[in-house]
Amino acid sequence: MPEPCGRTFDEALLSGYVDRALVQRDEQRVRVHLERCARCRAVVDDLRAVREATMTSTFETPRDDEWSEAPRTESSRLLVGLGWPLATAWAVILIGYALWGGWQETENLVERLLLLGGATGFGLLFFGVLLDRLKAAKTDRYREVHK
């Protein structure tokens, strides 16, 4: 059924014409119609103007150093996997050795309390950080990513 302007094809072909996405036969039909239809020519001109404005727009984008989506490599995963157990074992042995050695060295109650307090504080801090890391690792969406 022809439109009032005499167009015998679907209006969507005007978009296809603007996008150069029509087969030759349809492109020919649209071109012939546009030569005599000011209304459809105006539609095509509008579509082109909007496409040009959209295409030539520029947006602010994040700086390169704001991205962190590179996946972790097998080697870094292995190193981190080994690092934490080793560091934990080292901290346990070091604190135990410091406590035992220091305890043997002195009979003074104040010195023993200082030693015990310091070692306990260090131990609590270390295990607090370790527990936080373990908890965060379970919910961290970026755990597979280089940070």
Binding site: R51, T58, F59, E60, P62, W67, E69, A70
Partner: protein, 203 residues
């Protein structure tokens, strides 16, 4: 704001880029970290811009892009390297955006909400021919009208007119038959045109 300006809106992928993408994908599959880095540097800006255009919010767009890039790399092994990377990455971005909407109980038919948020992310052009006031105003009007469109209309226009995707790539990203791309795109453009006319009357 911690940002830099993009040089051009949507650098269209040419045949050479697709070929080197293929090589990079093969190298990344083989575990080459520099190839992953090169792929990320090549495609993340376009992915970010699509997320920004769908969400209208810089922080959400950044989160979605990082998640999408992560998914891109974790699923790389199953990716057919003969296909183009950008439509595949855009499909992931779109799915991530939809997941975010679902979590926030928004629908694809909703607009961005605050239409000036997206316009606020437009780069300020350098003085010169580009700084032409009328063109700048038209761009702001177009993006304000786009932000006011339902997301499903906005995405098809943005994919075609900003990112310059072919109809077959658009069909792949949206998961629709290629034969319906033109009519859906035209419907969206018609609605955008009506918004612009409406905006023009109220300006």
């Amino acid at each position: 704001m911690n940002t830099v300006m993009v040089e051009s809106a949507a650098p269209a992928m040419v045949a050479g880029d697709a070929e080197s993408d293929r090589q990079l994908v093969d190298q990344a599959k083989a575990g080459e970290p520099t190839a992953c880095d090169a792929l990320a540097r090549r495609h993340r800006r376009a992915a970010y811009l699509l997320a920004l255009q769908l969400l209208g919010n810089r922080d959400d767009a950044m989160d979605v892009t990082q998640d999408a890039m992560l998914r891109f790399f974790t699923t790389l092994k199953s990716f057919d390297a003969t296909r183009r990377v950008q439509p595949w990455l855009f499909t992931i971005v779109r799915n991530q955006v939809r997941d975010l909407w679902r979590r926030r109980q928004r629908r694809p038919g909703d607009d961005i909400g605050e239409s000036d948020a997206l316009v606020g992310q437009l780069a300020t052009p350098q003085p010169g021919p580009e700084a032409d006031l009328q063109r700048r105003e038209l761009k702001a009007r177009v993006w304000r009208a786009l932000a006011a469109l339902p997301a499903e209309k906005r995405e098809i226009i943005v994919l075609r007119d900003f990112h310059d995707l072919s109809y077959s790539d658009i069909a792949q990203v949206l998961g629709i038959p290629i034969g319906t791309v033109m009519s859906r795109l035209h419907g969206a453009r018609r609605q955008l045109r009506a918004r612009l006319e409406e905006g023009g009357r109220h300006a």
